[in-house]
């Protein structure tokens, strides 16, 4: 049996943090993605411009750099904003918050494109039918648009979640106690890098497999009303 020198528990605790980080970023990213897609499809030029700048910049710079900018940069930005309101105490952003912000922004930028494609694929006739039935904008969105967008966006979002899950490892660089950092801590005290990084790799693989299975079932459930062609 593989001997983890009692660090197995620590690695599992790291896995919990990794999963928490992934889900928190997922929620932030989904909201940003829907907002971004709506902005890109809106008729207001300024909103389109902001959404385009957001996706171009975030998708063009490395995720690691985003994490570093948020972790080291947000503190000074927040403090200068706070000083405008007369708040002079020191503000610090923890690695978890910085990670959720950075990964959420990244996920949101890619999800914007996925949602935009899904929103655009809903025929105009359905919008008109909803309006003809007397639905308001909000009701139309919840009853007609969202269920279909969900079904069409799921495969793309599933892929993005797998990418997000792997990107969580980057937050260990700024000191979040996730799987990677727990593994590094174990390595520095046991001097067995191959063993612990392999264990970390296995844990990520298991998380990946679980997510793949979950996404598969969600896709099945979301498209239960659709005949396979």
């Amino acid at each position: 049996m593989i001997d983890l020198h009692g660090f197995g528990n620590q690695l599992l605790q790291g896995a919990v943090i990794t999963v928490e980080l992934a889900f928190a970023s997922l929620i932030v990213g989904l909201i940003l993605g829907l907002l971004g897609a709506s902005a890109k499809l809106s008729s207001i030029k300024a909103l389109q411009w902001i959404a385009n700048a957001y996706t171009t910049i975030i998708r063009g710079i490395p995720e690691l750099l985003t994490v570093l900018i948020i972790y080291f940069g947000a503190t000074s930005v927040l403090m200068s904003v706070a000083s405008l309101f007369g708040y002079e105490e020191y503000i610090e952003i923890g690695p978890f918050v910085a990670g959720v912000t950075a990964l959420g922004l990244t996920f949101g930028a890619y999800a914007t494109e996925v949602f935009r494609g899904a929103l655009q694929s809903i025929p105009k006739g359905q919008h008109e039918a909803a309006v003809a039935l007397g639905m308001g904008n909000v009701r139309k969105f919840y009853r007609i648009i969202l269920p279909q967008v969900w079904r069409m966006a799921l495969p793309g979002l599933g892929n993005l979640f797998l990418v997000l899950l792997k990107d969580t490892a980057l937050v260990s660089v700024v000191g979040l106690d996730d799987i990677m950092r727990k593994a590094s801590i174990a390595v520095s005290s046991t001097k067995e890098p191959f063993l612990f990084y392999s264990a970390a790799a296995c844990m990520y693989l298991i998380l990946t497999i679980i997510s793949m299975v979950a996404v598969h079932y969600m896709e099945k459930k979301a498209s239960r009303g659709i005949k396979r062609t």
Partner: protein, 236 residues
């Protein structure tokens, strides 16, 4: 914001960008060379041949690149055998470790792209080759691979951009690539926002150049198609 810091350290950032470019170009070229046999083995009709590329691709696509770099750079030194072997002078250098990890990683992704492209070619063309009396090798060299090259371009351009972004991880094993250089400068000047933003702009410029080059190559490669656009499913 202090722009003077950016200006005075800009040459050093460019030095970092040069290391980044070397990392990306070397691993992309090596990755493509490895990817082709992996892709061909992946579509083999024998399940025993298929299972190895499947596991290889599954491992490298299912684990974070950071883990893979650490496995190569720190992991290899756990074994005395490796330390005494002829490979040690290479495995000791962070640059070559980064190249090894990036190459393995990108070859797995690229193999999947190649496989998708080869399988996207209509069966009729394969049948036509057989009717004309081409051997398997001729069919691949004359028809399937050139066709696949045209189909592969958009997805392959994406992969290069992803590799460019992934190369920032080289900074975690002490390499002074663009991100590593930025972190070193910041440790001295304490101006994270200005320097990281400047690094971000350089990354953006590099990826825009890559995108522009690929647009041109795509236009040329697929010129026989006229204005038709080939759609390749985006990869995750």
């Amino acid at each position: 914001m202090e722009l003077s810091v950016v200006i005075s350290y800009f040459p050093r950032l460019l030095d970092g960008a040069w290391v980044t470019l070397q990392l990306v170009i070397l691993s992309i070229v090596l990755g493509a060379i490895f990817a082709l046999p992996i892709a061909l083995a992946r579509i083999s009709s024998s399940p025993f041949v298929r299972v190895f590329p499947f596991l290889y691709i599954f491992f490298f696509r299912g684990t974070p690149l950071l883990v893979q770099i650490f496995l190569v750079y720190y992991g290899a030194s756990q074994f005395e055998v490796v330390k005494e072997s002829v490979f040690w002078p290479i495995l000791r250098e962070p640059f070559w470790c980064a190249i090894i990890a990036f190459t393995l990683n990108t070859s797995a992704y690229t193999a999947e792209i190649f496989r998708g492209a080869i399988q996207a070619i209509p069966v009729g063309e394969v049948e036509a080759c057989k009717v004309v009396g081409m051997t398997r090798f001729q069919m691949y060299r004359r028809v399937l691979l050139p066709r696949a090259f045209g189909i592969v371009l958009p997805a392959y351009g994406n992969e290069i951009i992803l590799m460019l972004k992934g190369s920032a991880l080289a900074s975690t094993i002490t390499l002074l690539d663009l991100t590593g250089m930025a972190r070193t400068i910041i440790a001295r000047t304490y101006t994270p926002i200005e320097i990281f933003m400047a690094a971000g702009v350089i990354y953006l410029v590099i990826s825009m150049v890559v995108i522009a080059i690929f647009k041109q190559v795509e236009k040329r490669q697929n010129r026989y198609l006229g204005p038709i656009v080939i759609k390749v499913p985006e990869k995750g």
